[in-house]
């Protein structure tokens, strides 16, 4: 469980997150909102790239904000980025092993854990394949494999399906939905694809201009008048 209390982030005169208070229960949670709503800023706070002006984040009872950014991965934070970050010059195996060896999981189980993470994503290529030879959907799966390896506690997925065709998005959704049961990690999915969010997330929170405007069961939230107004701009 992650408890966010009064989280505020300011960039100069712009308030990116405005006293956000929210509790993420275990499972897969959606985080949606129009562009500039503060979703990636929230992820950046959890990753340690942005220091909030105010507020606290307690993840499974631990004060996450007091931890150095690179130590958060060892604790169990995993993250993907809007722009795909699989390392082209490394093999699929090395991409995932790179995360495992900084995760705090023992080296003894590395090979097994890495292959297990790759097979979990359903990536149907040899682990020795160089990432530069893979297609966009396959690279996204490599990123998901990196996010689930080495006992993660919190998996943050930032628009993992951006630019993917429907078929690959639906496979990716299938994989994302199974992350909590496979790893035990709380997963937060940011995406603009509502069908993906509906398919993967039991609960969803909505941000608009840095403010939390709705949260609750996904189906209810997506029918919420404020949410529809924020997305469609209806007066």
């Amino acid at each position: 469980m992650i408890e966010v209390e009064g989280l505020t982030v300011r960039y100069g005169g712009v308030t990116s997150l405005d006293a956000m208070s929210l509790t993420f229960e275990d499972g897969t949670c959606g985080l949606i909102g129009p562009n500039g709503a503060g979703k990636t800023t929230f992820f950046n706070v959890l990753s340690g790239f942005v220091r909030p002006a105010a507020g606290t984040v307690r993840a499974f009872g631990v004060d996450l904000l007091s931890m150095a950014h690179f130590r958060r991965a060892r604790w169990g934070v995993r993250r993907t980025f809007q722009t795909e970050q699989a390392i082209e010059e490394l093999s699929v195996f090395d991409n995932v092993a790179m995360v495992h060896e900084h995760s705090g999981a023992g080296a003894g189980s590395r090979r097994r854990d890495v292959l297990d993470a790759i097979s979990f994503t359903g990536l149907d290529v040899s682990p020795e394949t160089r990432v530069r030879t893979l297609g966009a959907g396959q690279r996204r799966l490599v990123e998901v494999a990196r996010a689930v390896v080495g006992q993660p506690r919190l998996v943050l997925l930032d628009e993992p399906a951006a630019g993917l065709p429907d078929e690959e998005t639906s496979h990716l959704g299938e994989v994302i939905r199974r992350i909590p049961e496979h790893t035990g990690a709380l997963t937060i999915l940011v995406d603009h694809d509502m069908s993906l969010v509906s398919a993967c997330c039991q609960t969803t929170a909505v941000l608009d201009f840095g403010k939390l405007i709705a949260s609750g069961p996904t189906a209810t939230v997506l029918r919420d008048d404020d949410v529809i107004r924020a997305y469609l701009g209806v007066a």
Binding site: S47, R71, F81, Q85, I87, L90, E101, H102, R146
Partner: protein, 343 residues
């Protein structure tokens, strides 16, 4: 190990054996001396390749780091009777500490600013070395005696006194340094460096202590360059600060980019461009100064058409040429008359 990897290692072993035993038979002493310099500078370009190609750190101070290694080795060789390999190790370690200290304040910087800082620091080191002078058999900390008339040469290892033997010795040390880098890039630090080069935020999110791994790269590059300085000391016998001009670091970066900063072969190509090409031109009576223009054009060409350098481009071009020649030799396939009617 798979079959292609076995073939690759066999080719490398054959090339190394040919370099060690074939080249000294084929070339005159003039070229053997030049090839010894190639071996020395292949370590320097290898180290710069680690920084630029693997981690994305641009350093314009490598010639000064090389000078530190050469200075330490020369001092130890004059002052002690330690075996040569031990002196090389010590020169590498002292240079590693010095190079890392240079890298330390620069770690918060990237790109142009890092390049500028390293260039300025290199300039400062060159000034200090010009004042302190290289050891020439004198006493005291600096080991320099300006009044000395019969300056003794810097000694070489007893097994490699003659030029061809010292060439082999240099190649073996260089091969060891290449193996050291290979051991890094195939394992944990190599993966961490690849992640840092791709994206520092993504590397941090993956739990990589980017500060530590960048420092590690600086330490490794400085160690290798220090060892290269030690080998250089024995190769030339006499060292002068004028041999390490600051601007040579810029040329060094240019040849590393031309050779290919992303591959280990690129380091060899870069060293050949940097040391063998001038020797070749000198022998043909052409001024090596023309190379500054050639390297400028070369970098322009590489950056626009072959970012991975000659080490990547030449094999691809040769393969393309081979396919073209095969196609020309083979008669065109006879035309098969179409059967059946149209739909």
């Amino acid at each position: 190990m798979g079959r292609p990897q076995l073939i690759r290692w066999a080719v490398i072993a054959a090339l190394l054996l040919f370099t060690l035993f074939g080249l000294p038979q084929l070339f005159s002493l003039y070229y053997i001396d030049s090839l010894t310099q190639v071996a020395v500078y292949s370590m320097v370009t290898l180290a710069l390749g680690v920084l630029v190609g693997r981690v994305g750190l641009i350093s314009l101070g490598q010639v000064a780091v090389l000078a530190i290694g050469a200075w330490v080795a020369a001092r130890l060789l004059f002052a002690t009777t330690q075996p040569y390999p031990l002196v090389l190790l010590e020169a590498g370690l002292v240079t590693m500490v010095a190079g890392t200290a240079i890298g330390l304040p620069a770690l918060r910087l990237r790109g142009l600013y890092l390049a500028l800082i390293t260039l300025m620091l290199a300039g400062a080191i060159t000034v200090v070395l010009a004042t302190v002078n290289f050891p020439n058999g004198g006493h005291g900390f600096t080991g320099y005696n300006g009044a000395l008339i019969n300056i003794p040469p810097i000694r070489r290892p007893s097994v490699a006194g003659a030029d061809p033997a010292y060439f082999r010795y240099s190649v073996l040390i260089a091969a060891l340094m290449f193996l050291l880098v290979l051991a890094h890039i195939r394992t944990r630090p190599g993966r961490a460096w690849a992640a840092i080069r791709q994206s520092e935020p993504a590397a941090l999110a993956a739990g990589i202590n980017t500060w530590l791994y960048k420092l590690w790269a600086f330490a490794l590059a400085s160690f290798i360059t220090g060892v290269a300085g030690g080998v250089l000391a024995g190769a030339v016998h006499y060292l002068y600060s004028i041999d390490f001009p600051t601007q040579d670091s810029i040329i060094l970066l240019a040849v590393v980019l031309m050779g290919g900063a992303y591959s280990l072969w690129g380091a060899v190509v870069a060293a050949l461009l940097y040391q063998f090409l001038p020797a070749l031109l000198n022998n043909w009576g052409v001024s090596a100064d023309w190379l500054t223009i050639l390297f400028g054009l070369g970098v322009l060409q590489v950056l626009t058409t072959a970012p991975a350098g000659l080490a990547d481009q030449v094999p691809k071009d040769l393969a393309r040429l081979g396919r073209l020649l095969l196609r020309l030799r083979r008669p065109p396939a006879p035309r098969v008359p179409s059967q059946g009617g149209t739909a």
